[in-house]
């Protein structure tokens, strides 16, 4: 899973000026002007993703996960969102591209699966027709060919009797089958980037396991780049190579899955891990919740957005309340946005957090 990065660079695109990441998001900002004020849903997010790799984005509800992914896909309605920064997909900046250029990439080079597969499929059209449609936008083929392709895709994602099921309507599928069909639809043009926004949140745990397996298998097969968005740390641990923890529209911490789970550095990540009952460990007597509630994105607290809920904010001589911490490398690409000094951080982790997880 780690080596085949270079050889897949077969696309004739030569526009990449820096780095070779397939997806390169730089300082993305998405703001929504509303009557109550500007909602800063995403406020300076950067990350890179190679083909064949999976990035997990975790964070609480409203932390900007979906907004980030919709920006990459160019799915924010025009005029509603103010987007700045850059999103390079294989060297092409999507933010400055025209809507038509981005549309041509959607479905073909990047595709997305959504949380609720029932509402994400059109209730009036058969599953097959919706997949055929996805294939035909980007491939000039006859209906018969597209239909055959749709049946193949349904078969590939594990739908039994695909030649019959292709004519069923979404409501005739079970939840798991619908999500499989969504995946078939997303993969029908063999995209290089697949974004899965809470793909299993609406599903039962046994079905969730099936879908996660499927996504993992398909990624290996298609060698695509995958972004998986979820609030379930267990799900990211299953799939992700790298993880970005988001809080209030910004990245709090970024690192490999091992970094995040074995040596987390940010108090918010600690909070998430402490809040979560673990089925694989000794049962802790008490969960350690994060106090308070997530901030409003219109009035983000000054300084570190997490400071009203953070147990360590007082250790930084008021810096936590006044200055926004930058996302800085603590070594080996493990990035953390926190003012805590390395000593304080290590001490808090060793004495307060680690023993209780």
């Amino acid at each position: 899973m780690t080596e085949p990065i270079e050889e897949v660079q077969d696309a004739p695109v030569q526009r990449v000026e820096r780095g070779e990441a397939f997806l390169d998001v730089r300082n993305l900002q998405v703001h929504f002007p509303t009557d109550d004020g500007v909602v800063k849903s995403v406020d300076g997010v950067s990350f890179k993703l190679e083909r064949g790799k999976t990035l997990g984005i975790v964070g609480e509800s409203g932390s900007g996960k979906s907004v980030t992914s919709l920006s990459i896909m160019g799915l924010h309605p025009p005029g509603v969102a103010k987007i700045s920064g850059q999103i390079f997909l294989d060297g092409q900046d999507l933010v400055s591209s025209s809507r038509e250029e981005v549309r041509l990439l959607r479905g073909k080079r990047m595709a997305m699966i959504f949380q609720d597969p029932l509402s994400a499929m059109h209730p009036f059209y058969t599953v097959g027709r919706q997949i055929i449609e996805a294939y035909q936008v980007h491939n000039e083929v006859s209906k018969q060919v597209a239909r055959k392709h749709a049946i193949e895709m349904l078969d590939r994602v594990g739908i039994p009797q695909p030649d019959r099921r292709v004519d069923a309507y979404p409501h005739q599928f079970s939840g798991g089958m619908r999500q499989r069909a969504m995946i078939a639809m997303a993969l029908s043009c063999d995209p290089d980037l697949l974004i899965a926004d809470e793909p299993t949140t609406a599903l039962d745990v046994t079905v969730q396991a099936q879908i996660l397996d499927l996504i993992r298998d398909l990624q290996r097969e298609f060698n695509s780049a995958v972004i998986i968005i979820t609030h379930d740390l267990g799900v990211v641990a299953e799939l992700a190579d790298d993880i970005q923890v988001m809080y209030a529209g910004r990245a709090a911490e970024y690192g490999t899955a091992e970094d995040i789970f074995d040596r987390p550095q940010h108090p918010y990540t600690w909070g998430l891990l402490g809040s979560m009952p673990r089925i694989d460990r000794e049962r802790s007597e008490r969960l350690i919740p994060i106090k308070g509630t997530p901030p409003s994105l219109i009035n983000v607290p000054s300084g570190c957005a997490f400071n009203p809920r953070c147990n360590y904010a007082h250790l930084n001589d008021g810096l936590s309340q006044t200055e926004r911490p930058e996302l800085l490398d603590t070594g080996n690409g493990h990035l953390v946005a926190c003012h805590l000094s390395p000593q304080n951080r290590r001490q808090a982790w060793e004495t307060d957090i680690k023993p209780k997880l």
Partner: protein, 349 residues
């Protein structure tokens, strides 16, 4: 069961004694069709549950969507009338009590609902919502309803100043606290909590879980907790009942169930839980169930799990395995259970 001796004298609460017992509980929702709207079938939402709840404990019901957890909860609180079977609360058979005779019991048995948005009337203030049970039940309070409500709000970690605010001004976790405060108003003995934390974020979820635990300790509450998150269930429960398609397939002590699950479904369920541990990634020996849960309208005959069970044999399709106690306090309904200490114990059935 103790039924005769509790008619007149009030029950003295005792930890460890049975507060609720359920016997052969069934709920079928009829399906009607045709010109005359004949009944052509039934959703067998709950189909023969038998279990007891001990005072002071937390019993959890887990299972996949549609297995009948909510229906069970609504039956226990008698928001629904059972098709058949018996529910005995503190020695009184409440399975067919009418609304009038049920009302005094509503003080003792309360329900917390899943949706912290939908279950609060958006046009009522928090004070009115939390105070409603006092008014409905005509309860006299020492210093007036307002004081009582404010005390409740503090108890669940809200500020008394929230009295005059409306539900939409609160976050999901706070709304769930309002719901809990309302539930606590009448000092119930038994609380049926239907997915009380499912709609909440992890960090908030932990706050509410802790709150529920504190309250249980403070007021000797008994919980029937409905949930589908197995990690949360393990954290909160004393005993766990695993449901599949309207039936209990396994009922055991928490430790026993999580460490030595006996029913194949429980085994599969536990192994499907994604674990936030990178060392186990990809390596874990996983049992993957095929397909989805069948419809409760036409559930598979005999063992309802046989269509997805990897251990299924002919007998599973013809003979229903009874829920029997294979170990002290550990009941399982399977012909070929896992983790059996004496391997011969069940094989000849």
């Amino acid at each position: 069961m103790t039924t005769a001796d509790t008619e007149s004298t009030p029950v003295v609460p005792k930890i460890g004694e049975e507060i609720l017992s359920v016997d052969g509980l069934v709920k079928h929702f009829p399906i009607r069709k045709g010109v005359l709207q004949r009944q052509v079938g039934a959703v067998q939402a709950v189909d023969g549950l038998t279990f007891n709840v001990t005072r002071g404990e937390t019993l959890s019901l887990v299972g996949e969507s549609g297995c009948g957890k909510t229906t069970t909860g609504r039956l226990l609180t008698r928001l629904l009338a059972p098709t058949s079977g018996k529910i005995v609360f503190e020695g009184r058979d409440i399975s067919h009590l009418g609304e009038g005779r049920m009302r005094p019991l509503r003080r003792d048995v309360q329900m917390i609902f899943q949706d912290p948005y939908g279950s609060l009337n958006p046009r009522h203030t928090v004070g009115k919502i939390v105070g409603a049970p006092f008014r409905l039940q005509h309860v006299k309070t020492e210093h007036g309803v307002k004081r009582a409500v404010q005390e409740l709000l503090e108890l669940v970690g809200l500020s008394p100043e929230h009295y005059n605010r409306y539900p939409h001004e609160f976050s999901g976790g706070q709304r769930q606290r309002i719901g809990i405060a309302r539930t606590l108003a009448l000092r119930p003995k038994l609380i049926v909590a239907d997915e009380p934390v499912s709609a909440l974020d992890v960090s908030i979820q932990a706050q509410v879980v802790n709150l529920l635990e504190d309250l249980q300790e403070e007021f000797d509450l008994t919980y029937v907790m409905i949930a589908h998150d197995l990690s949360v269930v393990r954290h909160v429960s004393d005993r766990v009942a695993v449901m599949y398609l309207g039936k209990i397939v396994e009922l055991a002590d928490r430790v026993d169930l999580y460490e030595k699950p006996m029913h194949p479904y429980t085994v599969a369920l536990l192994s499907a839980v994604p674990v936030p541990d990178t060392k186990r990634k990809g390596k874990q020996e996983r049992i993957r169930l095929q397909g989805d849960v069948p419809s409760p309208i036409n559930p598979p005959p005999a063992c309802r799990f046989h269509t997805r069970c990897w251990k299924a044999q002919e007998i599973c399709k013809t003979q229903e395995p009874p829920l029997v106690e294979l170990k002290p306090g550990h009941q399982t309904a399977c012909h070929f259970p896992e983790n059996v200490e004496a391997p011969a114990a069940k094989a000849d059935q």
